[in-house]
Symmetry: C2
Subunit: 291 residues, 2 copies
């Protein structure tokens, strides 16, 4: 299915081999089959993330990049424009592009999958499945999934843990055609990531809409999340579906606000980026208050 990758050598600066490079070490990168402008962009991203190009530093000029990659201005400008759209670089007419931030934007999946997010943080996700059932859709769920009230759906309720601590209650409803897959013997809701599992089965979740508000913990929430009844919880209601807009799942997730926050970064020029953030407990960040 995947094209066989071919490889080539590049220097430790991420540049193709050129006579003027004095010393170099070897690393291997995916090469052909990926368009040139993407290889250029990936390389610049990597150099920014690694700190070779610190914040405030000027990138090589377009003509220099053209020489280094033996490319014309087209692909080089395409790469720079991609970085600009991600907010990584600034600059403008007459002055060379400048590194604005080294933060790499979180990919789409990170906001969707709790497991994937936890792993990207270097923490260990856990989960306890409380209920999985096939039942008729309630009104609110039917509206969100664009089906009729009473149509069969699959409900899944899970308590999600972070490093063993209760963090979130997830009440997800899948349309029947997708939820059916969760009853497969191959699926173990307590060990694997649902989204990874569904992706393997050809379910493409590619658009999502998240609505945030706050609710008070009801008795069930309170005992599972180990907070007092009535404590404020951060609620995310999520509807996700295919690229064509067909909804596949609706979820009501309630977070302990002392463990998880959501962050939006916003600039006049660049596109906004969103991220789920983990908040260290007071015991953890004792004496480590940021300067």
């Amino acid at each position: 299915m995947f094209p066989r990758d071919s490889f080539h050598l590049i220097t430790k600066d991420g540049l193709p081999l050129l006579p003027l490079v004095p010393t170099w070490t070897v690393c291997i990168v995916k090469s052909v089959d990926e368009p040139l402008y993407q290889r250029i962009a990936d390389d610049l991203r990597r150099r920014i993330a690694r700190g070779d190009l610190p914040v405030g530093a000027a990138l090589p000029s377009e003509s220099q990049l053209c020489e280094q990659w033996a490319a014309s201005r087209g692909p080089v400008r395409q790469a720079l424009s991609a970085l600009r759209a991600e907010g990584l670089i600034g600059g403008g007419r007459g002055r060379p592009p400048v590194v604005r931030t080294s933060r790499v934007p979180q990919p789409f999946e990170t906001l969707l999958s709790f497991s994937r997010w936890a792993h990207s943080l270097g923490r260990t996700p856990g989960q306890r499945t409380l209920e999985i059932a096939r039942r008729p859709a309630r009104q609110e769920v039917a509206d969100a999934l664009a089906i009729d009230e009473g149509d069969p759906v699959v409900d899944l309720v899970r308590l999600r843990l972070l490093d063993g601590r209760p963090t979130m209650i997830e009440r997800t409803t899948f349309v029947e055609s997708v939820g059916r897959l969760l009853f497969d013997v191959a699926f173990d809701p307590d060990s694997s990531s649902i989204y990874a599992y569904l992706a393997e089965r050809g379910v493409d979740l590619s658009v999502a809409r998240h609505v945030f508000d706050a609710v008070a913990a009801d008795p069930t929430d309170a005992s599972l999340l180990e907070v007092p009844e009535g404590a404020p919880l951060l609620r995310e209601r999520r509807r996700a579906g295919s690229a064509s807009g067909e909804p596949y799942e609706y979820s009501d997730d309630r977070y302990r606000p002392d463990v998880v926050t959501f962050t939006i970064e916003n600039a006049e020029q660049a596109h906004p980026s969103v991220a789920r953030a983990w908040r260290p407990t007071p015991a953890d960040n004792n004496q480590t208050h940021p300067k």
Copy 2:
């Protein structure tokens, strides 16, 4: 200061005059001095927003756009790529671009300014200034503004109303150089928008970071927002500053979650868009539950 705009006629379809157009009405658009690819993008955006190109419809092919605008593929592709980045259109190799949604992304300011947001919703914002004071910075604020604890700052506490109903408590702290402007006789905190006022004075707020969580209403919050003590509130902590990253303001805003929510729309391909959403009260949307 501004270049004198020149104008030209285009048909009701937004196309330049061509002999093959049978009927047309006149409208005036800004023309020269704006690059071609932006004029093309603006025109397509307008046609999508007006419904001339409904969701699901295919856009003209690149070669057609080239003919219509007497342009080469460069600017046309630049325009399409801009729309694609905004999530307005989809499509790919071999198939013509397709309108994905007609929703125009909210500009940067809408998430920053309560007044601006309310107006864009067609609702009337209100505000009651509870406190404005110059005092030494607390620890948390000093950290956020990158100044030393005890440095002078300007605190502003306002109750914000939507259609006369209490909606949000805003506790904003400005660095002294910016906050000083709020004591000017020309500024009336109860009538004008702070951000519009500051922008006039040359304060450029162009990057912001918003962190969302939930808190319980303390006695002050409760009485001002007219909710029970301990009720869950949606909290947004915001840090905003100049393009170079210098922070100007830090704010702790607490919303009634039954009035305001925040929404993130997220897709695998396009950049995320964020928006503040107004939630009609149960009395308002009685019998108008969405199908």
